[in-house]
Symmetry: C2
Subunit: 187 residues, 2 copies
């Protein structure tokens, strides 16, 4: 509205506006609120305005998930994170800071994993994990060590988002933090 000189068309990059609106809805009201009509309504356009840009709802959600993987890659890539532990911390902190987005990124029935942007974005994030310095313990292949490490971190992220770690901690009476659990997982 303010600066239609921005990029090009009728709306001034409706693509970005829709992703932005969807992301706000996602973190505010959860994945279940991501209906195509609700997104376009909140963005102030007609119900089918997203079609030329994203094809269908799956396309829009896939683009949003791709954005999430890109941000996750960025969160994991600061130069000071040379140790696996730091990467794990970044992974879990990203998930907890963006619970809706992180959940969407791994919701394979709401997203098309063959979507070009999503495929490259997720491959990029996974490659960053695979590039971690492999722990050279005896009798463990580096791939197995990597997979276990990823599983540990991913499990902590998922359980934390579902509130299950918090429930466990509360129930046990101790004063643990999730960061401490990540530290623990990397011992």
């Amino acid at each position: 509205m303010k600066t239609p000189t921005k990029s090009s068309y009728h709306h001034g990059d409706l693509q970005k506006a829709l992703l932005y609106t969807a992301r706000l809805m996602l973190e505010k009201d959860g994945i279940a609120s991501l209906k195509l009509r609700a997104i376009t309504r909140n963005a102030g356009v007609s119900a089918t305005a997203a079609t030329p840009h994203f094809g269908n709802l799956t396309g829009l959600l896939s683009a949003l998930a791709a954005q999430g993987f890109d941000e996750l890659s960025e969160a994991m890539s600061p130069v000071y994170a040379k140790e696996p532990r730091d990467v794990g911390l970044a992974y879990v902190r990203f998930a907890i800071a963006n619970p809706g987005l992180f959940t969407l990124m791994f919701r394979s029935d709401a997203v098309d994993s063959d979507h070009p942007a999503l495929a490259t974005a997720s491959a990029g994030a996974f490659a960053r994990l695979a590039a971690l310095p492999a722990s050279d313990q005896p009798g463990i292949s580096p791939e197995a060590a990597m997979a276990c490490l990823w599983a540990k971190v991913h499990g902590l992220a998922v359980l934390a988002i579902d509130g299950l770690l918090a429930a466990l901690i509360r129930h046990s009476g101790t004063a643990l933090t999730i960061d401490q659990l990540v530290e623990e997982a990397f011992r």
Copy 2:
């Protein structure tokens, strides 16, 4: 139809029939196929026949998830599974054998965690995890060790269901199995 002497009413336990139908659909076509009208249609009853039994779709899915937690508890409780590693194996194997159900059990936006049956069933399963013999390593509280263990196993289950572990293994050229990864996680 055949033996209406079964239990009581018009249909002969429509409750069980609906859960059975829903579960078949779940493992055959995924969570996205679990529409209330599709379930009742496949069960041969009218669209609103589930209402007296489950209230709404969330109620039905919650009952199904509760059934899943009960089965998970059973899978983890054989007497020969005294070691944490065996419980972890049972957890991951249950998830891989019932990917749709396991996914539903942790899909908090499709399910009501305050649903009575679901709440008690999930609490039962989690209690079984909490009852594991805590590893008495120095400087680790038993709760932290437990949480890490659960996260490892849950992460392996989730990543395996999404096909991401298989992709990782394939991509690395090694001949790992998921059971080996579980073994590895418990070293």
